[in-house]
Each structure stands twice: as C-alpha cells, then as structure tokens.
C-alpha cells in the first residue's frame, strides 16, 4: 500500500489486513447474535403467529425463507460487484477478498431460493419446476455465480483470479437487469397470467412483519458469514506476511 494516503488514513488503517482481520473477527458475534434472534423471531412469527392464507393455506409460509433468500441472493451479487469494482479501480486486496467471500454465500442463497420456490411450486402448481419469470431469472443468477466461481478456480495466481473475476462480476451486474427484463418479457409471452402472485402489497400486517424481520435477520446472517469467510480469504492472501507469523506465535 502506498504511503501517500493522507486524509484517508482511517480508511487506510481499516484496509490494512491485520487490522481488518481483527475487526472482522470481533464483528462476527455482533452480526451472528442479531441474525439468530431475528431469524428465530421471523420463523416463529411466520409459522405460528401469521394466519393461514385463504387461498394458499399453509403452503405460503415458505415465503419466510424464500423471499429473504431471494433478496439476499441479489444483494450478495451487488456487494460482490461493488467490492470487485473497488478492488479493480483502487487495487485494494481486501475488496477482492470480500468479493471472493461473497460469491459462495450468494450462490447458496440463490440455491435456497430455488429450492424453496420449487417446494412452494409443488402444492401450488402441482409441479416441482415451472418456467416462472422470477424462478428462471434466479436460475440464471445461479449460473452467473457458478461462472464467477469457476473462473476464480481456473487461476493458480490469486491476484489474477481476483482481477479477472472482478471484471466478470462487473459485466454480470450490468447484465442482471437486462436478463431479468428479458426473462419477464419472454415469460409474459409464453405463459398466461395464471401464475399466482407471491405476497403482494395487500398482505396483512401480521403476515408482513415476520417477512421484514426475516429479511433483516438474513442480512445479518450474510454479514456474519461474510466476516468469517473474508477472514479466511485474508489468511490465504497474507499467508507470507509477518503479522500472521506474529499472530501464530502469540
């Protein structure tokens, strides 16, 4: 890192790997505990307190997993792409570490979204998979994540993997809205409006609050997981650094 950071010292300090490694470690419980509380609350609210839907009966309750996971699947991609941009432009290793750490988490949330959607589809549509616009977009998003991770793993050199995958993340993030729009357009042509709308603004409050709490809880879960994973990424990147050897000795 350069010496002429000037007024950016706080940023510089945060971006220094040993400092960040410690901070991230300390932050884990601060994210993990709220995540656990919020997710338990949301699950209880969603599965027990919320009334059954008059049309979908109890099957709708899967949205308390499905919707927060879907939200996180997109947010992870945005985080990954933003971190990649920062890493690419300012050549900050930590940003690349965050991007690399976010990808598997995002892919997992995408997979959860797809599985939950599929489980919901069985009682609703009588089939495990239907080419619904949102599910299809989500599937392509999973492909984007898999492509990103495949590209990372194809490089032996970490710096090159970081920078190449960062370019891909940025290209992907420009394409995500285009893909979504095209899939919605395609879907509106090929399928009637028989697809049930999930949720919707008319949702009564006692159904809605567990959903919002759940979304918040899953966001904290992401933050906790990202802290854990980014520490791992920092370790790999700094495996030769002296501060790590001191840490080991201590």
């Amino acid at each position: 890192m350069g010496k002429d950071v000037g007024t950016w010292t706080w940023f510089h300090k945060l971006a220094s790997p040993p400092h960040f490694y410690r901070i991230a470690g300390r932050m884990i419980p601060w994210f993990a505990v709220p995540a656990a509380i919020l997710i338990v609350a949301s699950t209880y609210g969603g599965l027990v307190m919320a009334p059954a839907d008059y049309q979908q009966k109890d099957a709708f309750r899967i949205i308390y997993v499905h919707v927060p996971a879907a939200w996180l699947s997109l947010m992870c991609y945005m985080t990954m792409a933003s971190a990649a941009a920062v890493g690419l432009i300012w050549r900050i290793k930590l940003a690349h570490a965050l991007a690399a750490a976010s990808a598997p988490i995002g892919a997992s949330f995408t997979l959860v979204t797809l599985v939950a959607g599929s489980l919901w589809g069985k009682p609703m549509w009588g089939t495990w998979w239907t080419w619904d616009a949102r599910l299809t977009s989500e599937l392509i998003l999973l492909f984007l994540y898999l492509g990103y991770m495949a590209l990372r793993s194809a490089f032996d050199d970490l710096t090159r993997a970081d920078r190449a995958s960062a370019v891909l993340a940025l290209v992907g993030v420009v394409n995500v809205p285009i893909i979504h729009f095209s899939v919605v357009w395609w879907n509106s042509l090929h399928q009637g409006s028989t697809v049930l709308r999930k949720g919707g603004p008319a949702m009564p409050a006692e159904m809605l609050w567990p959903l919002l709490v759940g979304a918040l809880g899953y966001t904290f879960l992401y933050a906790a997981l990202a802290c854990i994973r980014v520490r791992g990424e920092v370790l790999i990147r700094e495996r030769n650094a002296s501060w790590l050897k001191e840490l080991e000795a201590a």
Binding site: M1, G2, R91, D156, D157, L158, R239, N240
Partner: protein, 210 residues
C-alpha cells in the same frame, strides 16, 4: 520530481511479488538519455519480470515507475507510445511476411513508408526474406525481424528481453551496433542478456539482480 531529461526513466523502490515469491525487493534505478542498462542475474532471478514491470504489464505491489518525471500509471498509453518492447516471443504472425508484419506493427503507431521498412530489414540482414511467410524464416532471422520492429517503433525507451537469443556472431554484432546507435542518438535501452555485451562507444551500466 526528476527533471525531464536528467532521468527519463526512474524506478523507485519497486517491490514485486509473483505468487508467493518476492521477486523485486526494493529495486531503484534511473536511466537517462544515452544510457544502456544491462540487467544481469541467474535464471529465475526476475529479469523478465523486471522488464515486464517496466513495460507496464506487471504492477509492482509497492513503489512506482516514473517516465519523464510523471508516474507511468497516470498516462499508460503515452508511456507505451514512448517505449518499444521485445519479449521472448517475436510478436509476428507466422502466416504473414516480415514486410506485412512490420507494416501492421509500425503503422499502428506512425505511418511508415515501405522503403523505410525495407531499409531497416536490409540493415538487420533480412532484406532477402522480406516477402517470405514468417514461418519459413530461421529462428535467428525471426529475431532480427522482431528487432526491426523495435527499430521502427520510433521509441525512446527500448526494453529488450534476451534480444540475442538464437543469433549468430554476425547477428550479435549487427544488433549490438543498432543498440549502440540508439543510445548515441539519445535513446535508452534496458536489456537482459546472459553473455557479456560488447557495445562500442556507449555508456553501459549493469544492474545485478540476485
């Protein structure tokens, strides 16, 4: 900041890592008009990495490179316009003739007349081969054609990675004369070579990498 000409190229405290290998450890040097810099060292000591860093392919983790007093990262294309790089590969298309290859390589920088290209090929002893497919040339002739590209680039800074590879005695002599000429005209050349260099009438300096 260095003055424009006293140090045209300045490397300040370069640190370069390749994977887990610390290749350049705080390397600093300057090179000014008329200087020839001979980079030496055993295999794997980072000679090629240094030249690729100077060419702008590799970014040092620490330290910076200045061209005419300005960091090269400020204006990469401007810096590239001032340099000519000869890598391990000759950067020639096997299916095109030397003349065609050189026309594409040179015209992209400066429109160059056919006669100029031909005379440079003559000077480097590959005039008769100018219209043959590049693949038909011997390894030494290929290296000479590649060197013709450097000569035609109208660049002040030459970065030559093992330019004498595959050359016979006459080839080494021709090439040495070309490099010495470049320096006499105020150019800078940084080159790697295993053997001792015989460059008459030029200020030759050594950079040892361990």
């Amino acid at each position: 900041m260095a003055e424009t000409d006293s140090a045209a190229l300045e490397a300040r405290d370069l640190h370069l890592w390749r994977g887990s290998k610390h290749v350049l450890r705080g390397l600093s040097f300057t090179a000014s008009a008329g200087h020839l810099l001979h980079v030496r060292g055993p295999n794997g000591c980072g000679k090629t990495s240094l030249l690729r860093t100077l060419a702008g392919f590799l970014w040092p983790e620490e330290g910076a490179l200045y061209w005419e007093g300005r960091p090269v990262t400020e204006d990469r294309d401007g810096y590239a316009a001032a340099l000519a790089y000869l890598g391990h590969e000759n950067a020639m298309k096997a299916d095109l003739s030397p003349l065609e290859n050189l026309r594409y390589a040179t015209d992209v920088r400066h429109p160059t007349e056919r006669r100029t290209i031909e005379s440079v090929l003559e000077r480097l002893g590959v005039g008769p081969q100018r219209d043959l497919p590049f693949r038909a040339l011997s390894a030494g002739q290929r290296r000479r054609v590649a060197m013709a590209r450097v000569l035609l680039a109208r660049a002040r800074l030459w970065l030559l990675d093992e330019p004498f590879t595959n050359l016979d005695v006459a080839g080494v002599r021709d090439l040495s004369a070309v490099v010495a000429d470049h320096a006499r005209q105020g150019g800078i050349a940084i080159l790697t070579a295993h053997s001792e260099l015989d460059l008459p009438g030029s200020e030759l300096r050594r950079l040892e990498l361990e």
